[in-house]
Symmetry: C2
């Protein structure tokens, strides 16, 4: 039973890629066969998973124009993290694809390319760009659930409304499986009255049940893990708090889908 | 003599809006007549400057399709910060405008709308969205200089190449005034060997002269200032370090243009 999750927020830098990679790391550590789909032209997930972006690669941009059901099967590659973690790289004209016109079925193109190509995976994680355009819509069109990553600041909270609207649009127009699976708090500062206030507001906004615990704290070791192109779980005890956090979030994700 | 600066980076959450507002705050404190142009559909600069986003507003989205030179003059409004700080709000179909096809002159539409409308301002600050699409291209098309905001992480550094390429493209295709004015470091953590390493790499990448000092440290009071829709300079001594930083950066900006 494959679970497909789109990790999204139009707000930049909240940790969509960090959360995608953290969940993939937890999956790697627990032997789950996982596919990461990189929908961001910046290709940060692709790079951290050990694949150098190159015009030679096929990837999500190509999948979006392929028209063949299951076309993504020939585009996915094994990641640098291990045999069970695969990647559909950010490749092809992703920036171009963002400007594709909205037509009937245009939000279902990624799902069609993945159709039948993901049956061997336990989990599919789709890392979205900071945008609510055509690529993110396709990410939602291909997903069973949406994971909204939120940073507890005023700008972070202001961005939530339009994201929920897009989830609603894609649900009604393209994908009746789609649901808001949960809200993940990231980059939570150790000491901040402002952040605590925003978390209270967030709970009022989406309901306490939607805001997942644990929250992910701000920790510089996350940047170190990215830099080493390594799953956070490979760091052992210096990262033990983050490892526990991502294990708990993965567990919650699997129960929720 | 009006100086127009585009504040950009495709990478999300590096502080484009924070730096735009910090420079506007320093300008407010020193009595400079300043126009903030909000090119991000999320409208965070618009909101913090005291204007509630509304479909009633005219703004950058409308300016991009107006065709009339100086059309922005009737769209700009006084901000909530004070008489000398004005705003061209994020309004109109900005998300739609992002998908406009590239044609001859399409990157010069914002400049045309601002042409003659900014003569009374000392400084024009253009806050760009996390994208290298048509809206950001127009921001660069209207600017004398580009300010690249960078967070010292591996993802932060990976994003720089494509931004410099776009500056190059807009310079060659549309705007021969355009230059990379400088690189501003933001969200620098107090203690991080990883961040220090990235700053060394950044200096190698763009040259030490391009990387401006001082860097902007990670400080939770910034979020508080945003939340209160207030210039950071209004906070007085609790924000004295940041006030000094933005004063120094504004000084450097004015000398560089
Ligand atoms: N909990 C955290 N602690 C410390 N650093 C973090 C944390 N989460 C994210 N970061 C760092 O913050 C930056 C932004 O995170 P990330 O790139 O994952 O966000 P994003 O939402 O994917 O950004 P974009 O909108 O550009 O896709 C990165 O450099 C990342 O390493
Ligand atoms: N130096 C800093 N210290 C603490 N918080 C900061 C700092 N700079 C930015 N932030 C906070 O980080 C978040 C991202 O910053 P900001 O929105 O300015 O970035 P951006 O590049 O404009 O994002 P986007 O790509 O979404 O437009 C905001 O909540 C902001 O308040
Ligand atoms: Mg990302
Ligand atoms: Mg911004």
């Amino acid at each position: 039973m494959t679970s497909t999750v789109a990790v999204l927020n139009q707000k930049g830098g909240v940790g969509k890629t960090t959360v995608t990679l953290g969940l993939a790391s937890a999956a790697w550590a627990s032997g789950l066969r996982t596919l990461v789909v990189d929908l961001d032209a910046q290709a940060n997930a692709t790079w951290t998973l050990g694949v150098d972006p190159s015009i030679e690669n096929l990837g999500t941009g190509d999948a979006l124009i392929s028209r063949t059901p299951g076309a993504a099967a020939d585009m996915m590659v094994q990641s640098g993290w291990g045999d069970d973690i695969w990647l559909l790289p950010a490749a092809g004209d992703l920036t171009e694809r963002e400007a594709d016109r909205r037509r009937p079925g245009s939000m279902g193109r990624l799902r069609r390319a993945l159709d039948g190509a993901t049956d061997d995976f336990d989990l599919v994680l789709i890392d979205c760009a900071p945008s609510l355009g055509m690529n993110t819509s396709n990410g939602l069109g291909a997903a069973d659930g949406a994971l909204l990553v939120v940073e507890p600041t005023i700008f972070g909270l202001r961005g939530i409304g339009p994201v929920l609207d897009l989830v609603e649009d894609v649900w009604s127009e393209e994908n009746k499986r789609l649901d808001l699976t949960g809200v993940v708090l990231n980059r939570v500062p150790a000491i901040s009255a402002d952040a605590r206030e925003r978390i209270v507001e967030l709970n009022k906004m989406v309901g306490t049940r939607s805001v997942w615990k644990p929250a992910i704290p701000q920790r510089v070791i996350i940047n170190q893990a990215h830099g080493e192109r390594s799953p956070i779980h490979a760091f052992g005890s210096p990262a033990s708090e983050l490892i526990e956090v991502f294990d708990a979030l993965l567990k919650k994700l699997r129960r929720s889908l």
